[in-house]
Amino acid sequence: MSSIHTKTAFESIKRSPFQALSAILVLTLTFFVSTMMAVIVYSSNNLLKYFETRPQVIAFLKDEAKPEEVSALQNKLIADTRVKDVKYVSKEEALSIYKTATSDNPLLSELVSPTIFPASLEFSLSNLSFAQEIIDQVKKEPLVDQVGFTASLGGESTLNDVVSRLRTITMYLRVGGGVFVGLLAGTSFLVLVVIISMRMATRKGEIEILDLIGATPKFIRSPILIEALIYAFTGVFTGWVLAFLFWLYATPNLIKYFGEIPVMPQGMLDFFLLFLAILGGEIFIGSLLTFLGSMLAISRARKTR
């Protein structure tokens, strides 16, 4: 039975190809931008998560600190629910890290000895809002010389500034992206409603005949709904493919630029899974837009009959 509706839908598209093309183009643009925004939001979330979870706080220990005292402080920090991933870094390890960091300039590493570098306790925080109070608390420990943080962006002087700046960027991305995508989705919805209404007007005579020979409302609206779904799926798929190709091309450069910060999925499988999840969401949104648009157009057409 559905084949007759599908055939009617395709015939309708063939009869007015420019209406169909405009609907598909608007939907393609909407879902291209949606895919782009979804990936940007995903990357910014990863960026924020990276800074939130990397060892942000380093408590440099005094040279006279005894191993049992260090161990006691380490255990105290481990027991603190606000703190996670506590790690002891010895003087030798600190030198090794320094050497690795300055490997492109061997002269720098030759000039230093392990005694220059203090041992330290590095840890991250479960929530960065605790940062200042933890830092203040650790500073008061007798075996702690200085407390620093590794996250630094734009030269901010405190950890709170770094995090709040990252959060603001992420929030702007989410809100701005959401508003933009919302506006495009609204435009797509209106274009769909207009085009379906035009289709209904064109098929007015046919609908009246179908009504007289006993067609149910479902029978009458099925080809219209199928036609709108064809627009939506074509738009979703084309927009998604374009964005997918863009990110496929850009990801190696992004991974290279951001280094260890996992702004994009590192493996191919994860990359495809991310895009499949986006496609699934977009198909759902596309279907919803189509269904609501068709219903609105059909109910408006019925009122004017």
């Binding site: 007759i4 020979i213 006993g214 067609a215 029978f219």
Partner: protein, 263 residues
């Protein structure tokens, strides 16, 4: 089968029908006659449940259709085959597709369509016109397409609103012969017409309306002669058509096979 009981209908200040009462039995062929504007079409539209009367009841197989829930109207209409004066054919579909639409509307499984369509087109003499569009047909052929569409769902009743109104006498006569043939197979037919020649020639019971009122209910023949419970021949022919279509498909496949072997 169909009963109008004191039915009145007005459109604003215009009284289209007033106190209309009559009955139509199963298997009857009834003319609704009268001049233009008498209320014939309004009567048929009331029976098709396009709108409800202001007063009175209309029963179809003991069901008062004036009180029918709107969700059941499509199911009710599927029991009625309608032929309109202006044909109401889908111009962007072929003759075959126009007939198939009625089957799709009635929810008939697609597998049985070719047989039923072929049979009904054979009945109305349009089998060789099946793939033509309405703009490639004559008025009589379009009306026969409309009749084929009405018949293909094997309806209990056929409503024909001036089916010969736009046709010349010869074509109109051919359509009338077809309707008579269908009636003889047991279908109830209610036909609105103002064509005196047709009324005189076919001598059916005639309900004459003037200015919305019944002025006479003549019974010119001793109809209904038969009151069959089913519409056997059309149904049988439809099934035969199904078989024929199957056989022709097998034949076609055989021909293709032979051609392939030859290659």
């Amino acid at each position: 089968m169909i009963k109008f009981n004191n039915v009145s209908k007005s459109f604003g200040s215009i009284k289209a029908l007033e106190d209309i009462s009559f009955e139509v039995n199963k298997g009857e062929f009834v003319f609704i006659t009268g001049p233009s504007g008498a209320g014939k079409t309004t009567l048929l539209r009331l029976l098709l449940r396009e709108f409800t009367p202001d007063k009175g009841t209309i029963t179809f197989e003991s069901v008062d259709i004036t009180k029918l829930d709107k969700n059941y109207i499509p199911t009710y209409r599927q029991k009625i085959g309608v032929v309109f004066q202006d044909y109401k054919i889908l111009n962007e579909r072929t003759v075959r597709e126009n007939v198939e639409v009625a089957l799709a509307v009635a929810g008939v499984p697609e597998a049985s369509w070719p047989g039923r369509v072929a049979q009904v087109l054979k009945l109305v003499g349009l089998l060789n016109r099946a793939e033509l569009f309405p703009n490639q047909l004559s008025g009589g052929e379009i009306q026969r397409t409309s009749l084929a569409r009405a018949l293909v769902i094997n309806p209990k009743v056929i409503l024909a609103d001036e089916p010969t109104g736009n046709l010349d006498w010869e074509t109109a006569d051919a359509i009338m012969d077809l309707l008579e043939k269908i009636n003889k197979e047991g279908k109830t037919i209610i036909m609105a017409t103002h064509n005196e020649m047709i009324i005189d020639k076919y001598k059916k019971r005639s309900i004459k309306i003037k200015a919305g009122r019944i002025v006479s209910k003549e019974k010119l023949t001793d109809e209904p002669k038969t009151q069959p419970t089913e519409a056997p021949k059309v149904a049988e022919e439809v099934n035969e058509g199904k078989q024929e279509a199957k056989e022709s498909k097998i034949e076609e496949k055989k021909k293709i096979k032979v051609k392939v072997e030859e290659v």
